[in-house]
Amino acid sequence: MDRETAFEKINPIICFIYIIGAMALCMFTMHPVACCAVLVMSLLLYVNVCGRGVLNRLPLLLVVYSILSLSNPLFNTKGETILFTYFGGREFTLEALCYGMMLSAMFVSVLMLFGVYHRLMTSDKLMYIFGGLAPGVSLVLSMVLRLVPHYGNQIKKINTARYIKQEGKYSKVANVMSAMTTWSLESGILMADSMKCRGYGCGTRGRFSIYSIKGKDIAVLILAVFLFASVLICRVKGGLDAAFIPRIKISRWDNIYFVMAIWNMILYLAIPIVINVTEAVKWHILRLKD
């Protein structure tokens, strides 16, 4: 894994709330400007958090985007401006196309945000968040995460050991799986013993984690909540209104709520980028001073 970025050090709960908020923002609006802003910002966020490597996935996302945008008018023929007709009269309308484009932008943004989520919310962070609510399930999760690679190794060992036996592909699979069952259950019994030896089940479990909430985390949370709420208010005030069908009708630049909503959305999605970049710049300056 690469080095931890600054935003990854934010408390997982706040990080989780932030990402959920970001996904919610994406789904809030169909306004073309807002959608574009969200799309661009999600992309920047995606690249910033997950590294340049994800740029390889751009073509795929582009294909998804195009297919989804173009397919909407095929299903949905409402709209006033007819671009062309096909299949003897079925209409392909501009409004439906625009609507599709907005929806796909939303979808692709959410997909990219899931990429961010996947990178930031590693299993241990997820366990930190839900461990308090479901201690049993989160212990199971932790054990499974520990066992999967361990079992993978054992399967490899069994495969190696069975080199001396010639057998078909599926009979080999069946044998390996039977062997794994016995082996894993037998060692599971010992694992249960080891848990009992360390007092498992002798009362309510306490909870320990290496995470704590620091001043910076609170600051991020307040900022995020403030920006999110302001976008919400602007939305209520009609700042992000957009209708496509039957006619395209969107709010304009002269609407103060619109400008504020867009601006705050961009700011919201920029929080991790700002944190990451600030840290990088600080390091750079520190090094220059030496």
Partner: protein
């Protein structure tokens, strides 16, 4: 002790309130976005089993058995990813349900899907898949308890396993596609989605039936030996 359960209750309440808030917000502003609604519904669907499990205070062996079976499902899936048409995960989850009961089946289905998605990709579909595999484990567990399937009925078990995939698990996963696609493509009927998902589900069903046919008797036998040996 008291403080902790109070904390937990507060936690649950907070989550519930959050869920309701999110629902209201999306209902009003979310472009009729049903996906969020559906997903919350699914999460609520998983809650009863999870809460039951937490409330029971599971013993060390119980918790270990669920973990072992879930880990086995994921590890086998990862290890034999190269063997063509071999999708063992649903099969192993079903065996878990049969050997350790419906709720253990549900939990290990849920957990193994979550964990294997850490290896592949988390996405909007994760909760749905978790729920779907959980249901698979749960239903097989119930059928086993009723004596409809079992280690002596190898073929029946395999066939019913396949049917569960096609009629239950597949459609649940397709529903996530439906909710995602809803609004995306105008007026899509659920039937179209389910129909288009059928081929994939059929392959999955055949693979699951194959897995059950191939490994369910030996694995169940081995689990039983452990149960007898260690008096579980």
């Amino acid at each position: 002790m008291q403080g902790k359960s109070l904390k937990r209750i507060l936690g649950y309440t907070a989550m519930l309130m959050l869920a309701v808030m999110v629902l209201i917000i999306f209902w009003k502003f979310g472009n009729r976005n049903h996906y969020v609604f559906g997903t919350l519904l699914i999460v609520c669907g998983m809650l009863p089993v999870v809460c039951g499990f937490e409330k029971k205070k599971p013993g060390a062996r119980e918790i270990v058995m669920i973990s072992v079976m879930s880990a086995l499902a994921v590890a086998v899936r990862l290890a034999f990813a190269i063997v063509p048409h071999f999708k063992p995960m649903a099969g192993i989850i079903m065996i878990t349900g049969m050997a350790f009961g419906p709720s253990a089946g549900f939990l290990s289905g849920m957990i193994s899907l979550l964990v294997s998605n850490f290896a592949f990709a988390q996405g909007p579909w994760t909760p749905w898949q978790m729920f779907s595999f959980g249901i698979g484990g749960l239903v097989t567990g119930l059928l086993y308890d009723k004596g409809i399937i079992g280690e002596n009925k190898r073929i029946v078990t395999a066939i019913i396993g396949g049917i569960i995939v096609v009629l239950l698990m597949g459609p649940i996963m397709d529903t996530s596609t439906f909710f995602l696609a809803d609004g995306m493509m105008g007026d899509v009927t659920p039937w179209a989605i389910y129909l288009s998902g059928l081929p994939v589900n059929a392959v999955h069903a055949v693979a699951t039936a194959g897995t059950l046919l191939l490994v369910s008797p030996p694995i169940l036998e081995r689990i039983n030996r452990i149960k007898v040996k260690y008096e579980i």
